[in-house]
Symmetry: C2
Subunit: 459 residues, 2 copies
């Protein structure tokens, strides 16, 4: 009977992401699809659909939703529903939810939790959302160092319903100081009459409760643990951060960096959920700043108005020159920002990077310069378009390209370090910002080259 379920035709379904809910019912349950279309629903529909689910389905869905979405539901819920669901959530999830609620609702929802939970949540609320303390769960399996292995296994079994991470068992003294860690699998295979203190690992990596979530995330990628203990400044264990919390963090941080790189403020919500007004506000800010910065190009250009009037051919290459600088700057800045975010580069590396980018920028400049030269020199009606001094024009364009691409690579790679040095977010050095900086300088480089090469002929 049980084997029926794995017959090939049945499993076609399971491959699509779900298995029949029991051996009789062939109908698939709703959550995965509902979860997938969730972000496309109106709030009222979300509440209706949530209420239409049976208890199990509703539990699964609620757990799968991000805190922001849970909070949205809570604002529409009746008091009874709020009471039911806030008690269902683990304290760290409940804390995240409460932090997403409007200020005036928080105390009310907190009061719906039983006393233990309320104490745990209140403690968690003291931490900032983006710190280790704000990520951790206060419910972890703990044992005493003088317990025997057999006792410890029994004790962990009793705790296993309420705790979050069971890969590691934490050994604490009576004042909750962290003494050691035992992996569950080691506990299982150790002789029952050994003491926990004899088998525990005492070389620990711990996370201070105030550590920034980005740093915690780097610790996890570097060391590949599935959970890390969080301790206060006196070494008391406060909770445990698990790798699944970090997955969210790492995606959030990457999203923020990507959005900043693209020259927007971080959206804080999925694209389709951001109200149009806010979308415009978040994009207008940087766009206006960049626009004002870019106005200096008009100022720079007006300084060279005479040159343009005398040699209109110079105007032809303006977009080509400045965009090449912007593109090489954009490459350098994204590579460096990501390397800094992943901890591959530190502030002290700036000089090594500088030297590398000088070489890279020069090489890239030479490549583009030769393409540019070829384009001008091999064009069929070159002297019609580029005047009879087309060779000099070609030299002007080529030398400007080398200068601009080199300059773009240097600015693009150094700006993230400079921002880091000033304790600002390196990711604020967006590609458009680098492009803007390079545009103004690019024009100066271009017209300076023109003055040198074309002096006495076109100029």
């Amino acid at each position: 009977m049980a084997d029926d379920i794995t017959a090939p035709e049945e499993n076609e379904k399971s491959l699509k992401g779900h298995e029949p809910s029991d051996f009789e019912a062939a109908e698939e349950t709703l959550e995965p699809t509902l979860l997938e279309e969730w972000s496309h629903l109106y709030v009222e529909d979300k509440v209706l659909r949530f209420r239409s689910l049976d208890n199990d389905e509703a539990e699964d869905l609620l757990l799968a939703l991000p805190a922001r979405e849970q909070a949205l539901l809570f604002q529409e819920f009746s008091r009874a529903e709020r009471r039911l669901w806030i008690r269902f959530l683990a304290p760290d999830d409940a804390t995240d939810l409460i932090q997403e609620l409007p200020e005036e609702m928080r105390a009310e929802v907190l009061n719906l939790v039983d006393e233990t939970g309320r104490r745990e949540i209140t403690a968690l609320l003291a931490y900032k959302e983006d710190e280790a303390g704000g990520l951790m769960s206060p419910r972890f399996p703990r044992v005493r160092p003088d317990m025997l292995v057999a006792e410890a296994i029994r004790y962990v079994r009793q705790q296993s319903q309420v705790v979050e991470a069971v890969h590691y068992i934490y050994v604490l003294d009576s004042a909750q100081h962290l003494l050691g860690v035992v992996a569950l699998r080691n506990l299982f295979v150790s002789p029952g009459d050994k003491k926990v203190s004899e088998i525990m690992e005492t070389e620990l990596v711990t996370v201070p409760a105030e550590m920034d979530q980005e740093a915690v995330s780097r610790l996890f990628t570097q060391h590949r643990w599935s959970a890390l203990p969080v301790v206060d400044e006196t070494g008391r264990m406060k909770g445990v951060v698990t790798v699944d919390d970090i997955l969210d963090v790492s995606q959030e941080e990457a999203t923020e960096d990507i959005q900043k790189l693209g020259g927007t403020e971080a959206l804080d919500a999925p694209y389709p959920d951001v109200p149009l007004r806010e979308m415009i506000r978040k994009r207008a800010g940087w766009l206006m700043i960049l626009f004002v910065g870019e106005m200096f190009t008009a100022t720079a250009m007006s300084a060279f108005e005479d040159e343009i009037a005398r040699a209109v051919v110079l105007a032809l290459f303006i977009p080509l020159i400045i965009s090449s600088g912007g593109n090489s700057g954009s490459q350098a800045t994204t590579l460096i920002i990501r390397a800094i975010a992943l901890g591959e580069l530190k502030l002290a590396d700036w000089w090594r990077v500088f030297l590398r980018e000088v070489v890279t920028g020069t090489a890239l400049g030479l490549i583009l310069a030769s393409i540019g030269m070829a384009r001008i020199l091999l064009w069929p009606n070159r002297s019609d378009i580029y005047t009879e001094h087309y060779l000099l024009v070609a030299f002007t364009v080529a030398s400007s390209l080398i200068g601009v691409v080199l300059f773009g690579s240097i600015i693009g790679s150094m700006l993230p370090f400079l921002l880091r040095k000033l304790k600002l977010d390196p990711a604020s050095a967006s590609a458009p910002m680098v492009a803007t900086l390079v545009d103004v300088t690019g024009l100066v480089i271009y017209f300076s080259c023109a003055r040198i090469w074309l002096h006495g002929t076109l100029l």
Copy 2:
């Protein structure tokens, strides 16, 4: 005695990431620092430093290193060292390592593994690295459906030393078909004389072995599990993917997207580790393509050479206009690419996004247009710089800005959808690529506006 270790002054150290290796030795162990400076070492130094570690330290370090770095060490190792360390690694990690080795070394290293391991690794090598099958571990805790809970606990205890994920226990029939899952904590709290089949969860989300790692990663972020079973097309369980594997995947994918967005080929290695030659090659490719694309600006400009010659004032605003289009396009494209990568937007959403971007683009265009107007109209010596027709010039600039910013937002947001439709990677729609597309069109828009507004006066 055990309590000493948590005395405040001792714990200062632990907060820095590490605890004394035992109660006597106050010296900190080497790995965290060595791990941190790893990427800055020369290969020869890596081997020397690795060999200088004691066995425990070497184990920890090797496990923490990415497969690429492990493979680097292996190429320098003696046969005895290779044999020792390849047998130490879990089959999925050994597989990753072998895939990073040069072709000619692979068979040799594989032959150093014992027979069971070799069979497992060979099976894993059949999957692509970026598929669920390439990520999974073939060692997971399994029980039979007709086992009693008490038996199952004993059985899992026996397996716990060799398996990877112990959060979930998988229930398989004799042909390895996946029937259900029991969370370890549920196994613990269930009465010992119940059958496993009575307490197992049969509503399963399974992952086909061929599923792309990006899709697997999305499943994990959506559903917040710590492990998912991987099955073949007949429903046989092949392995388990755990969330810590996914953390690496999610960071890799984000890094790739960020690098592509910046207009580079994905680097495949940390910035400081990429040889200069390869760095130049990976950046030159796109830079050349963009440069050739940007050459059309010169062509477009030459079509308007007469206009520029007659009204040099028009040249002043060229960088401002085209960069505004590029910036708004860069914003739109990064937002959409990230939303697609996170599964927030699907191909079918393109029309909704289009409408949104038309509104957003128009609003942003109006904002920049008013700043541009203000700049020209309020400038002290406006008629010197912008000619006596400065009002008409202002209208030209303002209307071009609206057109260019709107066009940039539309191109930037639609290009990722178009690439997706063509089964290409949406992230290839880099910010520089959008900027290049918008530059050429921006010039056409600008000079068309000029012809309309300035006809009969300056033109």
